[in-house]
Amino acid sequence: MAVLLEVDNLKKSFGGVQAVGGISFSVRRGETLGIIGPNGAGKTTVFNLITRFYTPDSGDIRLMGSSVTRLPPYKLARLGIGRTFQNLRLFKELTVLENIRSAYLSGHRYSPFAGIFRTRRHLAVEEKAEIKAWVLIDFLGLSGKEHAPAASLPYGEQRRLELARALAIEPKLLLIDEPGAGMNPREIQDLVLTLRDVKEKFGLTIVMIEHQMGLVMNISDRILVMDFGEKIMEGSPAQVKKDRRVIEAYLGEDGST
């Protein structure tokens, strides 16, 4: 299997506190990699480093072999890395449709002139954006809410909207940050099915940070365990569950479903 993403010895400190201390791993095309670890382990920081919202103090990030460590964040999205956020970052006042269209349109342009004078190109691109948005709305179960402001949606639907928006950039790699947060077991089951469907239909590679063991163990091909900004173990869900170091790090945590 080809390697899609390579993280090479990434380090990041904030004002003297080391958040990430030399982490390395690869993500193979088509797999689902789960990242787990206690709070404060640096998981979201790694996401932020990969998507270039932070600049690493040292280390390299390579997407399909090419280094992306010096690129601005929006370029990463254009190169095919999509993400969702731990605390949801929807465009609150914009409608569901507008949230999703914005992501599609970022990669499909027409000139301002075309926009002003409503040329054929403008219409063609906008139409494709509409269609793509409708497909995603339907697939993610948001039908009927197209024109609702994102802020008016119930929490579960907001999470699905953020997923739909990330999918609209037609990513190869999807970074999902705690998708199961705040969900009850039934919702988590639905989420597992949705993620499997999405992955299959769009041919995605997924990296997922998650605390809910039921979710992450169920859906991941491989799991990476972090603590104190470092990788402490990497392996299959079965291996990880039994590993002494992992159990220690999660002292008191229930590691089974």
Binding site: Y74, F91, K92, R118
Partner: protein, 312 residues
């Protein structure tokens, strides 16, 4: 073509307004002063719309908008006077020149400045606005015509109802089309959440600059029209208070609302000038005591602008 077909209703409405105004002015039903104020309203609406794009839609807090208004005014007037092309035929060229000058300066200053967030951007633009005013005050060192702190006099009176109306309506339509295109969508995304915008592939730095440059272009065009309406420019016309004027109109109209800016511009200018007409001479000074009080009351009553009933 589609440009006009899509905006059919608006164009018809605009045409109706124009015809009514043309008739009123043509039959001398109002004084020259009121004619001038009406044309001024269009100019102010145009400039305020520029700030609306920058701040109302894209969320970039600019307190120096009047500087670009002034750059457009001085550039247009200066070009007209040194080339001697002071007639209606070449006027569109000088108007365009005013807009472009403002846009160029906006591009140069925007690249470093727009990285700043919120209040800091406001302070930086405030500072820049004052720098520009100081520049105008010293402009006679560059050329006597510019007048420095004595002011720029003798500008040709070229702005009339037709030109002001046509330019304003056209640019408002252009603005509306931009807003409803992917660019306007990106601007609104950036205002909502810049980080999320970047995460979906929007080149936020470029889009912010584009909004800023376009908004300042509108201000420059408005300034050019202004220069050839009042035929006299003084640096104090383009100071911080003028920037606040535009900001007030954008806020009152409800940020990110083109129609709102039109109404608010009309109301604000109408109110200020209306007071000047209505109040007897001896208490005219009280105008500027009551206007700020009214402003404070308005902010408390409708903090989200006059168009919405929102209070929280």
């Amino acid at each position: 073509m589609r440009f006009f077909l899509e905006s059919k209703k608006l164009i018809l409405l605009a045409a109706a307004v124009y015809i009514v105004l043309r008739l009123i002015f043509g039959f001398g039903l109002v004084s020259g002063y009121i004619e001038q104020i009406t044309i001024y309203v269009f100019i102010v609406i145009l400039a305020a719309t520029g700030l609306n794009v920058i701040y109302g839609y894209t969320g970039q807090f600019s307190l120096g908008h009047a500087a670009f208004y002034g750059i457009g005014a001085y550039t247009s007037a200066y070009l007209a006077s040194i080339t001697g092309l002071e007639n209606v035929v070449f006027f569109p060229a000088t108007i365009l020149a005013g807009g472009i000058a403002a846009a160029l300066v906006a591009a140069i200053i925007g690249i470093p400045i727009l990285r700043l967030r919120d209040d800091f951007l406001g302070i930086a633009t405030l500072g820049f606005g004052i720098l520009v005013r100081v520049f105008f005050d010293n402009s006679d060192k560059i050329s006597e015509t510019l007048g420095g702190s004595r002011g720029f006099t003798g500008i040709a009176r070229l702005t009339n109802l037709e030109i002001a109306f046509f330019v304003t309506v056209f640019l408002l339509l252009v603005t509306r089309n931009l807003i409803t295109s992917r660019y306007g969508l990106f601007w609104r995304c950036i205002k909502e959440d810049e980080t999320a915008s970047a995460s979906v592939g929007i080149d936020t730095a470029r889009m912010k600059l584009m909004a800023f440059v376009y908004g300042c272009f509108l201000a420059g065009v408005a300034g050019a029209l202004y220069a050839h309406l009042y035929t006299f420019l003084h640096p104090s016309n383009f100071d911080f208070l003028r920037s606040i004027d535009f900001l007030i109109i954008v806020i009152l109209g409800g940020m990110g609302n083109i129609a709102g800016t039109i109404y608010a511009g009309l109301l604000w200018v109408g109110f200020i000038e209306g007071l000047r007409i209505v109040l007897p001479a001896n208490i005219l000074d009280l105008r500027w005591v009551f206007i700020p009080l009214l402003l404070i009351v308005l902010m408390m009553w409708r903090p989200y602008g006059l168009m919405t009933k929102r209070k929280s």
